[in-house]
């Protein structure tokens, strides 16, 4: 990716959000007002504890704070007994209560209650009721409801009843055993209380009291309960009061489940308020009546006391003073209706979400990549603006657009390379043609220059120059890049015809040149050969005469020998006649006799072979037979014209070579075909015939012997003869050579031009160009990445052509 972001365009649009609809929200009331901070309950309680003289009873469903626990040792030191009733035991209590207090656990304990010296006989008698979380939180209403005498008495009774009924006990130093937990006297529940109310399993004194207070309201109701779901039977009552025109204000802790609000939907006159540390629980009717509750997660065992008009007034004023800490519930409103800077979204059973209302808020839609480059250049792309979810009075919408950029991994499209390759090919071709034209042109000049003096020839060189000119023009156009490639096809065709024309010219030129050259050469050769022949003829004649002379010297013999020779020749002649006569007369007989002889020869040969077989190793036997014996046999049988017979014999398939030979021998010896049955006469004829032949050979040998004898002493002559004969042969041979030469060049000059293929265009005329189907882009650069093409342009000016070209090339138009 390129880091250059200069191509990104920034946009901004401001819109008001005052009509944003907000549903189920808590709106902060009067946030600017300073909240009146009351003395923390903890502190109040501690100061009350310090008044104790003998006895302190503490009842708390929440964890007792250390500040309170730290008072216990001080109290103990003064002899004050401390009795604590809690809903659960915490390990850290141990150090504070050890030897100084008794702590009992009653899981039903509710709220926070403290009694100082509550026994009738004791001097300081006081008691207080507060919300269960009263000691834990700060910034709540912090209201501590004081008991009157009657309430204290009943509360004390209630405490004793719950205390002795508790299920666990802790004294700090050891855990009390269960047996010792039992109260030592009978315990009676607080029955039909007059002023201290509670809800038990059987009796709901408190709920009844609350109902009666609500029912007494004529103008307004302030209700703050820790768990509205537990008291949901009160809801219809409250609703009916609201319908009668009683103004109802319901107070809750922000953290609790507010789904009960839905129960009041569509009822006018009920307003809901929330507080972050809601610590006082009450029902106030008008200015006079009221009940203070201990506040607990379960209404079971919740306790409460009736409030005096003064108490009602106190609580009301505290509520008023805490207005700045209150959040009011709106189930639907618009942003311009909300004056504060914060709202809390009510999730009903889900978490609450506190959010600040901002004066302005930037909504950034990020960078939008515009696929269409024209849209990018013209800047008309805009995100869908949405400010529904944005809690700000003014919304600044921001976005950026970026063009589709050339992919950095993209590579130059092969189209360029293809074009380049074809172009180069074409240029090379053109150059070759031009070069050829040049060559032909030069050749012509040379030929004409050499021959011009002797022959008159028409010079049509203007054609070649024209071709050259034309091609060079095309070349320079290509090189300049101005060539119109549409013309390529025509040009190629033209070049073909030009090339042929050039070749024709070249050929003709060469033929002419050759004709003249050859004719001159023939004439010269012919002259020389004729001269040479004449000389040889003379030499041969001389040599022949010389040989005849030497031969006559050599054949000269003595007279005796000559005579003897003559006689011998005569006898040989005679024998010859007889032999021929016999052969003619007994042709068949002699023939068969010869066959017979041949069979015998074969048998004898085989017999030798068989004997030899014994000395061979077993392996060699077969080879010997196959390589030596069998071919011989086949040859002999072919000679006899009896190869058929041999083949028949072979059909017997005798595997052992020796046996085959024996078999053949036997077959041949017993075959009647090769037997000649001769009578006596015939026998006699044959004997005579053989004798004649033998005799003839003997005579011939005699002749040879005489002749050899004659030649002794004539060696020089003989040698001379041989020498001379050799010389003659040589001369005759030379003559033959000359004659052959002469024969070859012929009597007359005839011109046969050289074969055409000898003259070729020095390049392939079968030239074709394989230009890509697509033209190169007219603007920008074509890239490809994978199978995708991108046509990259650089400027807005290129956009119009770029669009057409990218369309043509099926490429994405991108910016580079």
């Amino acid at each position: 990716m390129t880091t250059d972001t200069s191509y990104i365009k920034h946009f901004e649009q401001k819109l008001s959000n005052s009509q944003l609809t907000l549903e189920n929200i808590w709106e902060r009331l009067n946030e600017s007002k300073v909240f009146v901070q009351y003395e923390p309950l903890k502190q109040t309680v501690i100061s009350k504890l310090r008044d104790a003289e003998e006895l302190v009873c503490i009842c708390s469903s929440n964890k007792i704070p250390k500040e309170i626990l730290q008072e216990i040792p001080k109290l103990s030191k003064r002899g004050v007994r401390v009795y604590i009733l809690t809903s659960s035991y915490e390990e850290f209590y141990q150090d504070f209560i050890s030897e100084k207090a008794i702590l009992r656990v009653d899981t039903n304990v509710t709220g926070f209650m403290i009694m100082i010296d509550p026994k009738p006989k004791l001097e300081t008698k006081s008691g207080y009721l507060a919300g269960a979380n009263g000691l834990d939180v700060e910034g709540g209403l912090g209201y501590l409801g004081a008991f009157n005498g009657e309430q204290l008495k009943e509360a004390y009774h209630y405490f004793i009843w719950r205390f002795w009924n508790a299920s666990e006990e802790y004294r700090g130093y050891r855990e009390a055993n269960t047996a010792s937990l039992r109260s030592p006297f009978d315990i009676y529940p607080l029955i039909d209380p007059d002023s201290f109310f509670y809800n038990g399993w059987e009796q709901e004194y408190l709920s009844e009291r609350i109902k009666s207070v609500i029912e007494s309201a004529n103008f307004e109701l302030h209700i703050g309960i820790s768990n509205y779901r537990e008291y949901n039977d009160l809801i219809p009552l409250v609703v009916s009061k609201a319908r009668l025109g009683v103004k109802v204000s319901v107070y809750t802790d922000l953290a609790i489940d507010h789904s009960f609000i839905k129960e009041f939907e569509d009822v006018e006159g009920i307003q809901f308020y929330s507080m972050k540390s809601f610590d006082s629980f009450f029902v106030l009717a008008d200015q006079q009546k009221g009940i203070l509750l201990s506040g607990n997660q379960s209404k079971q065992y919740e306790t409460g006391i009736a409030l005096s008009p003064k108490g009602v007034g106190d609580l009301r004023s505290r509520l008023k003073a805490s207005k700045s800490e209150l959040w009011i519930f709106r189930n639907q409103t618009t942003l311009d209706q909300v004056s504060g800077s914060k709202v809390i979204f009510e999730g009903f059973k889900q978490n609450l979400e506190e959010k600040n209302i901002k004066e302005s808020e930037v909504v950034d839609y990020g960078t939008i990549e515009v696929a269409n480059l024209r849209n990018y250049f013209e800047g008309i792309i805009k995100p869908e603006l949405n400010q529904d979810k944005v809690l700000a009075r003014t919304i600044i919408h921001k976005w950026r657009i970026s063009p589709k950029m050339l992919d950095p991994k993209a590579k130059i499209d092969p189209l360029y390379a293809k074009w380049e390759k074809e172009k180069d090919k074409f240029i090379k071709y053109l150059e070759q043609v031009v070069e050829y034209a040049e060559m032909v042109s030069n050749e012509r000049k040379t030929v004409f220059a050499s021959l011009l003096g002797r022959f008159f020839q028409k010079d049509d060189s203007t054609d070649i120059d024209q071709i050259k000119k034309e091609l060079e023009a095309a070349l320079s156009e290509i090189k300049l890049g101005v060539y119109n490639w549409q013309e390529t096809k025509t040009l190629v065709e033209t070049i073909k015809s030009y090339s042929n024309s050039l070749l024709q010219q070249q050929f003709e030129l060469h033929e002419k040149q050759e004709y003249y050259e050859k004719k001159e050469l023939w004439e010269k050769e012919n002259k020389e050969l004729s001269k040479e022949r004449k000389q040889l003829d003379v030499a041969i004649d001389q040599k022949k005469e010389e040989i005849a002379l030497i031969e006559s010297q050599l054949t000269e013999v003595g007279p005796e020998a000559a005579k003897h020779l003559k006689e011998l020749e005569k006898e040989i002649m005679h024998l010859e006649e007889e032999i021929v006569t016999t052969e003619l007369e007994n042709e068949e007989l002699i023939y068969f006799k010869q066959i017979e002889q041949k069979i015998l020869d074969i048998c004898a040969d085989l017999d030798d072979r068989i004997k030899k077989f014994g000395s061979l190793k077993k392996k060699e036997k077969r080879n010997y037979y196959n390589n030596k014996v069998k071919p011989g046999l086949i040859e002999n049988f072919e000679d006899l014209g009896e190869i058929e017979l041999f083949n028949q014999m072979m059909e017997n398939n005798i595997s052992d070579s020796k046996e085959i030979m024996k078999y053949i021998m036997k077959e041949l010896a017993t075959n009647s075909k090769f037997r000649v049955d001769t009578d006596e006469d015939q026998e006699a004829i044959l004997i005579q015939y053989e004798q004649n032949k033998t005799e003839k050979i003997g005579l011939e040998n005699k002749v040879k012997a005489i002749q050899q004898q004659n030649q002794f002493g004539k060696k020089d002559v003989q040698k001379k003869l041989q020498q001379t004969q050799k010389e003659l042969n040589k001369l005759e041979h030379e003559l033959q050579k000359v004659e052959k030469k002469q024969e070859r060049i012929g009597n007359e000059f005839s011109f046969t031009p050289s074969k055409r293929q000898d003259f070729k265009i020095p390049f392939s005329t079968n030239f074709s160009l394989n230009f890509p189907n697509e033209d190169l882009p007219k603007t920008g650069t074509l890239y490809h990445i994978g199978n995708t093409r991108q046509l990259a342009i650089k400027k807005q000016e290129e956009i119009a052509i770029g669009e057409l070209e990218s369309d043509r090339l099926n490429a994405e138009l991108v910016l580079s």
């Binding site: 003998e54 006895l55 009873c57 007994r81 009795y83 030897e99 008794i102 026994k119 009774h157 405490f159 004793i160 009843w161 205390f163 002795w164 004294r171 130093y173 050891r174 047996a179 010792s180 937990l181 039992r182 109260s183 030592p184 006297f185 009978d186 315990i187 009676y188 029955i191 039909d192």
Partner: protein, 538 residues
Amino acid sequence: MRLTLRRKGQVKSFESILTIESMVSNRQDIVELVKFIKTNGGLANETLLQSKMGEGVPKIYISGILNHLKSIGLLNPNGELSTRGSRIASTGLVPVEGRGQFAIYFIEDEILNHLVLYHERSKNFNKSGGTKLDSDPFVGNSYRSVIDSAEFKIKHFESKNQSAYLNQDSGIYELVWEIDVDQTVHSKIYLSGELKSVSRNILRYRSHELEGMNDRTTSKLVYKLIEDHKQEGMRWNDVTECLEVPLDGLSKEQYENLSLSLNIPSLSIKGLGEFEATKIHSIAIGPKHDQDAKKWILLLVEKFLENGYKSSHEILGYLDELRQHRAFINYQYILDTIKIDELAREVKERKNYNSYWNIQAPLDLFMDVDERFIVRNRRVDITPGKELSMMELVQEIVHVEKPETLVFSSKFVKNPAQIKKFILFVESFRSKGVKDVLLVTKEPVELNDNTIQLKLYDDVYSGVIQPHDRYFAYQSEGGWHRFKMTAELDQCRYRSLLNVDIHTKGVWQDISFMEVTPEIFPVKLNDKLSEIEGVHHL
């Protein structure tokens, strides 16, 4: 007070020609016959025996059998089964006499005198080496063999001069004497040891209890031992039968249990002989003077308080128990002055916080009955010291009502005084017209009055916390009057419990009788009332 005395001694033996009667179990014929006689009236005659033995048996045999039974003393001369005969019938053992040379093993002990332990026949009777033996202690007495428990008796010695070969070293014995003064049963004596038998080497015998050996007054012996061996500073009080000891130096266990043990060195008692060193256990102890008494009481209360919360009533009850204890019988005046809040303070000062809270919390968190549940004009408050007879009290309670049924519920109708006062209370109601009475209490109690129905707490109050307080209710004209009492009836003290009746005046401690509404009356007791009501309505 428990004590175990022990000593060891030598077993002796002699050999002599004797007649010994042994009880044997192999005479089933006689046993059967005797049993038959016993089951058929115990009087044997010929007809009875004939019926047993069959008609075929000649009469002469029958009379022979009868005579034989008489001669061996199983039948009296008149044919009645003798005591001896009866014993055979029940034990199945028949006395059989045997004469011969016997070796007799015996001991001479100051408590047991001459006691024969065992006998066996012997062969090597050495006539010459015999010494003269006084046969009197042995002849005619029954003994039980320590080896096989068989009973036997030396009938008489054969020779006139009764000489026998005496062996001084024929084994050892150990005597164990167990005394428990607090138990009503007699003390027990056991024997064990070994015999050097002539025939079978060593025979061992163990813990053989000797019956009928003891009618002695052992308590005096024990008291004397305590008196003789008590430590310095201790004083034996014969009246209270209690060892008065200084509190200092007592172990926690000792002062809490009000008892200790004393070590006794080996000793010799006149008439009883010598004993090994031993220990007297569980000797009742008490304070020696009033300072100790007060301290001691405080320690005991502290201990009493350790286990669970105690109401003032329970504490007062406990103090009352101590008043009756022999250890404090002389210090009742101290107990009378003790106040509960004072006790709480003292326990706290002693840093026994556990006990402290068990007394303090019920004081601080005491639940009084709400006035609203007390029926006006139906409340009888008795100030301490007031003298009032039971009848007068009941008159106050019932006014003009005519009670028919009385139901009374209290844990403490246990001791004779409580029972007596309850009976007086019931009798007073009876004189007002009450017919049926139901008592609900903790433990079964003998009232000697069949008309009072008794139910137990565990049955009536099953499944709920049982009430501590005392309640009663009476029915009059179909309606129930329910009362709660702030204390037990034993708040009334009579000078003597003997010869008291409903008109005898007693001195009362602080108590109130309040009629209460059904809401605070125990639920289960309310159920009981409805149940009774239902029955009556039928």
